[in-house]
């Protein structure tokens, strides 16, 4: 393979190393942010659950469930914030010059940034969660909590996730049965697609990409809702009933499993499209005028 024109793994590693070390302060602050979020959830939920009327073991299980939900929320928020900041090293003219002049191919630079905001986040979450768990252990003597709370929370969270993953029984919705793994796959495909929207937003807007992407998505959602309501009112009750009957008559073959498969295919295809478009925007980037890329 021609590494001058396409791909070299050692060079990606070099770009990543450079990005991590030269922005060590930003990376450290973000790690501290995740750690602080995890720790606050762990400690405050522990205080609340420890004083509940449940028996200690049940209280601990409730505690773990609550922590799992809060962790998912924190990881989700940081996930999209990280994704939106994929091109934060292009925010100023000086930074754009430094990054664009770096001797690596555009795909290598993009992949390096992509890995930093995805795998990099996973590493930061792992480190922050471990540190939060250690800190919780250190703080335990300060609180009067039952002995059950001296167990590892992270181990319990992983056990819960693992047990959930092993439950391969089918589900039932919309009067149709479906395979649970397909439902989960569709859910993940939707999450990755949502994440890819922030990658795309971050590749388009260099300044305040998170808020601009979020704002745009909210605006699009409102427009779609208004449009849907308008269409439904235009079609009317009779029209909607006819439409439902038409669907029932012509889509007998459609099962929930097929619908979920279509969902997986739809979200995966649009995820790939968003990634491609993000990369395309990056390859078109120039030292001045980011909007110039679309010409």
């Amino acid at each position: 393979m021609d590494t001058n024109k396409f791909f070299s793994f050692p060079r990606i590693a070099m770009v990543m190393k450079r990005e991590i070390m030269e922005n060590w302060k930003t990376n450290l602050y973000r790690l501290i942010g995740i750690y602080a979020g995890f720790l606050l959830v762990m400690v405050f939920t522990m205080l609340k659950q420890a004083s509940s009327y449940y028996d200690p073991q049940t209280a601990f299980q409730h505690y773990c469930s609550n922590v799992l939900g809060a962790f998912a929320l924190i990881i989700g928020i940081f996930g999209i914030v990280y994704a939106a900041n994929i091109m934060e090293n292009m925010i100023t003219k000086e930074k754009r010059i430094a990054f664009l002049m770096l001797p690596a191919t555009m795909i290598e630079k993009f992949v390096a940034r992509f890995l930093l905001v995805t795998v990099g986040l996973a590493v930061a979450v792992f480190v922050a969660a471990s540190l939060a768990e250690i800190t919780r252990y250190l703080l335990l003597p300060l609180f009067n909590v039952p002995e059950t709370f001296h167990q590892s929370v992270l181990y319990n969270l992983l056990s819960m996730l693992s047990a959930d993953g092993e439950q391969a029984y089918g589900g039932y919705a919309m009067n149709m049965s479906y395979q649970k793994w397909l439902g989960e796959l569709c859910g993940w495909a939707f999450l990755v697609w949502s994440h890819s929207l922030y990658i795309l937003g971050g590749s388009y807007w260099y300044k305040k990409p998170f808020f601009k992407t979020l704002g745009t998505l909210i605006l699009i959602s409102i427009l779609c809702s208004v449009l849907s309501v308008q269409i439904i009112s235009w079609v009317g009750d009779d029209g909607m009933r006819s439409f439902a009957e038409w669907l029932e008559a012509n889509f007998q073959w459609m099962t929930l499993n097929k619908l979920l498969s279509l969902g997986v295919a739809f979200f995966s295809a649009f995820t790939l499209f968003n990634w491609w478009l993000s990369y395309r925007l990056f390859t078109r980037s120039q030292v001045v005028k980011p909007k110039f890329r679309l010409l």
Partner: protein
Amino acid sequence: MIEVKNLSFSYGKRKQKVFDDFSLALDKGSVYGLLGKNGTGKSTLLYLMTGLLRPQSGRVLYKGMDVSMRYPLTLQDMFLVPEEFALPAVSLKQYLKLNTPFYPNFSRELLNACLRDFDMNEDIHLGELSMGQKKKAFMCFALATNTSLLVMDEPSNGLDIPSKSQFRKVIASGMTDEKSVIISTHQVRDIDSLLDHVVIIDGTRVLLDASVKTICDKVYFAEQGMNEPTDTALYVQPSVQGNSVIFPNTHNEETNLNLEVLFNAMLAEREKMQSMFNK
């Protein structure tokens, strides 16, 4: 070494063109001075030459490769020192560790020699330097990358007086027959002794593209009193002592390039001066 072919560029479809069918070729082994009035596109040309901007039509080829493709082989063989640049808040040693692997010809000897010339050493922290010191450290890194092409935009801005002469020294000492340096600046007195070749651009045209030897063979730069005759002069510019004058060098006299006067003459007496160099 670098060829600009029929380049057209504007900052937007409705904006006036900065370059229109613009062509230029630069050879290796020379220090080029790129001069022009404010807003004539000097920095834009440098960005186009380094692939940081893409032309609407035409191409910039560096050693036969299109620079807008931004291939590693091209990027590791050219270095741009912009007027303003970003340096991370890390030690110089750390910066070197992270960035030198991208430049296969990087020379530690060149770096240390340059740092010595600027009274600096490797034990500095880039986040704790003044703007001028940062510029010196960055220029040392740029020189040490040992790239065939070094492009500098207003390199002497922000440098103190001793550093300006050191700057000339380090550029001259780092030159080889395989390297080229392009310097774009308004501070012509800082670089006129350094140049091998002068390129003056104005809008979409190249007003002058000639070696310093050719310029000095064809014209003679003189400083003379107010009452001395200037009848045969190509250009006269009032100065503190009297007049700075450019004459045709009919007697093949030795003369030193006065870049400021030459630049003003090219703008004021364009046709007369161009006909002189086209002879």
